[in-house]
Symmetry: C2
Subunit: 437 residues, 2 copies
């Protein structure tokens, strides 16, 4: 006889792996997102997990970020995707002749980043993206549609959010107005930190950039504006006649009218000029949603408008707007805070327990019930008593015990495991009852 080497089973650090009773809940959230994206006419896309390094890093001339999982295979440098946006750009550029624009696609899939493992950071995580890509032009109503999707999704999750919206053209134009155009991107980096470091420190950082005190205060003042769309817009619209600034104002006005038309609850959305978002490619609308009861969760959904999705892959102009939800992190936070709905471990509404030699009869029943409800037979070789104990422990909501009598009479005592109540019913009556739970 050979002796086997037993290897201690372990998984890689930084990778989420849920017990099935939790996985059911994550899958449910995924399905809700999918349904909402589909309902608004978005179509699914599933790009490969692996892409060529030269494609994923076209922007940086092929130099691969060290956080990305990359490896050589033959002559090719192959990478695991780190987001769903570059693959979308590649797909649209490859297939633009066969797509109808605006092209509305969603993709729910895993992306990979080999970051340092730490609490709340995952190296593999599910992104739920929806984007709308236009050819040459894309109206502002598309931006409103993204805000609508965010609102619908969190309503479906029963989570109250605040979606904070801005338009980058406001600050772009205002920097021009103040003759600070060449410093715009440094200024935005500083202003983006307002929430974290506070106004005093923002002023200090702006001064470190060589910006006069008076201009710094003006920048801080405008960035601090937040509240109702109409109020904020009317309080800033005369601050500058700069063209970019006025473009921002007009886009916000238009956006605001569509937000109303979509029926987004005014309590769930706000204009907040401190929202900037890190990504350099955003060029207009930007937004970040938080859960006000748990600000420590940070941004739970975000996105914005970009001028040109696929500039590294095609000469066609493809403006777009999109949103992204990091589901793995969101799920982890909800789980830690006991904000996930309760659920049964077994995934079965009904468990059938054989008593005596009735297994084949139980299976007949299972195949009858399974057509419409979740049903399983406990066919383990353990004793009847331990099966009853297990059903309790697993939290099965309903059971039927099938012995010789039940087989003869075709009447089954359907037991509600929560209340202990039993009803003697035919299988048709059982199904009718369980279908309506």
């Amino acid at each position: 006889m050979t002796t086997k080497n037993i290897i201690t089973p372990r998984k890689l650090a930084g990778f989420m792996e849920l017990m099935p009773s939790k996985q059911v809940l994550l899958d449910g959230m995924k399905r809700k997102i999918e349904k909402i994206y589909s309902s608004a006419g978005f179509m699914p896309l599933d790009t490969p997990v692996l892409e060529l390094g030269e494609i994923l890093f076209a922007k940086s001339g092929g130099s691969i970020d060290k956080e990305v999982y990359a490896f050589k295979r033959g002559d090719s440098e192959i990478c695991m995707r780190y987001d769903l946006t570059v693959p979308l750009a590649r797909f649209v550029a490859m297939n633009s002749d066969n797509l109808t624009f605006p092209f509305k696609r969603f993709q729910i899939g895993k992306v990979f980043r080999g970051e340092k493992a730490q609490k709340g950071r995952f190296r593999e995580f599910i992104q739920c993206d929806a984007d709308i890509i236009g050819l040459d032009e894309l109206p502002i109503v598309a931006d409103a549609e993204c805000l609508y999707l965010v609102d619908e999704i969190f309503k479906a999750f029963n989570l109250k959010i605040l979606n904070r919206v801005s338009n980058r053209n406001i600050l772009f134009g205002y920097c021009e107005e103040l003759n600070l155009k060449e410093k715009t991107s440094d200024i935005l980096i500083v202003l983006d930190k307002l929430d974290k470091i506070g106004g005093e420190n923002v002023l200090k950082c702006l001064s470190d950039l060589g910006i006069e005190v008076e201009k710094g205060e003006k920048l801080l003042a405008i960035t601090s504006k937040k509240g109702d769309f109409e109020d904020v817009i009317s309080s800033i619209e005369n601050l500058s006649q700069n063209e970019t600034f006025q473009k921002g104002v007009n886009e916000l006005k238009e956006l605001s009218s569509y937000i109303n038309a979509y029926g987004i609850d005014k309590n769930n959305i706000t204009l907040d000029l401190s929202i900037i978002r890190g990504h350099n490619y955003y060029t207009g609308t930007v937004f970040e949603a938080i859960i006000p009861s748990h600000p420590e969760f940070g941004t739970v959904a975000g996105g914005g408008r970009y001028d040109n999705l696929a500039e590294y892959f095609t000469d066609k102009k493809l403006p777009g707007v999109g949103l992204s939800i990091g589901l793995t992190r969101l799920f982890d936070l909800l789980d830690q805070n006991n904000m996930l709905p309760e659920f049964n471990e077994t995934n079965a509404t009904l468990e059938i327990i054989p008593l005596g030699d009735t297994l084949t009869d139980c299976i007949r029943l299972q195949s009858y019930f399974s057509k419409e409800i979740k049903c399983q037979v406990n066919y383990s070789a353990r004793s009847f008593k331990s099966k009853m104990k297990e059903a309790n422990k697993k939290g099965v909501p309903y059971i039927i015990v099938v012995g010789e009598n039940e087989v003869q009479s075709q009447q089954f005592a359907l037991k509600n495991m929560t209340t202990g109540q039993q009803n003697l019913l035919s299988k048709e009556e059982c199904l009718e009852k369980l279908k309506n739970i």
Copy 2:
């Protein structure tokens, strides 16, 4: 102005990437499988795409198969999973104290194999696995449940299959009976080729193994048995009193009674002793389903019983039985043979087309309809005429054109794009009609 380098967009060879109109169909098939697994009480599992090399290749002492995508990260050899079975073994071994046995899990996910690219072979493909794992013991009814799942899934796909079932103990025991025990695995490799190379060549190969002609003919004769379970069983059960052989006979008898209880159509399932399956770890029931109208598709679902799932990770005995469907390949075959159902490119049941300055009114309607049906507004800046053309081209089943009159009257001409018929209806009446399609 900087000039950008345009990189020709391309994806890796051997990776499936569907247009969204096809992706919808693939997603639909995935959802059906998920529903059937869930209905029988299976719970979802989602293991990471990446695993440690020492775990995936525990069996071969850590030596990594060259087809597997592997790379170094720090001190670790990391691999992309090449199946869903080893990760399941790792998971069950790690969590066995917190699971209720029999543990019924399903996993639908991508696996990766860097094989030579060729038609019909994919380097990334979706596997749809369901397994039932027992602790110490697992009754034969579990094997029947797997056959039931296969049958239900292909019924849901509207595809007529033939599931060919055998039990390896028959040939194991028969080799013993013929005093060929030490040559069993070589013999099985030869007999497994019967379908491909035919009886004459099987006899030749057996003779090459040094097996006497008479014994070779006996092996060929038993392997060629196929048909109704009862008929085949009664034609072989007296061939040997060998213990393993009789174990196989008894397991097949028991399996047959459960197959009847599950109500699997007799035309969809057959006992076929030529089914052996390549994997060494199968120890009892084995099965392979084909589509008889398209034998060239090969095996579209397969699986079997194994004695010990996680022998490299734990001393616990964990017998199991499972099935696997290679969805990517199946989808590709169905697609090539025009066996996929038809579908609209837009994913929307209703498209709303603004005429004049009615966009916000259209959005109000969209947000009303989207709660219950798939609906989108064509808000592109193109002309009304080209929007009408697009709706036709995209194959949207219903449209509403919304001009000033419609906004005033709140009566909308719901146009069936297939028949050309129009009905003047309120939005409530439109929804009622579209909901019932």
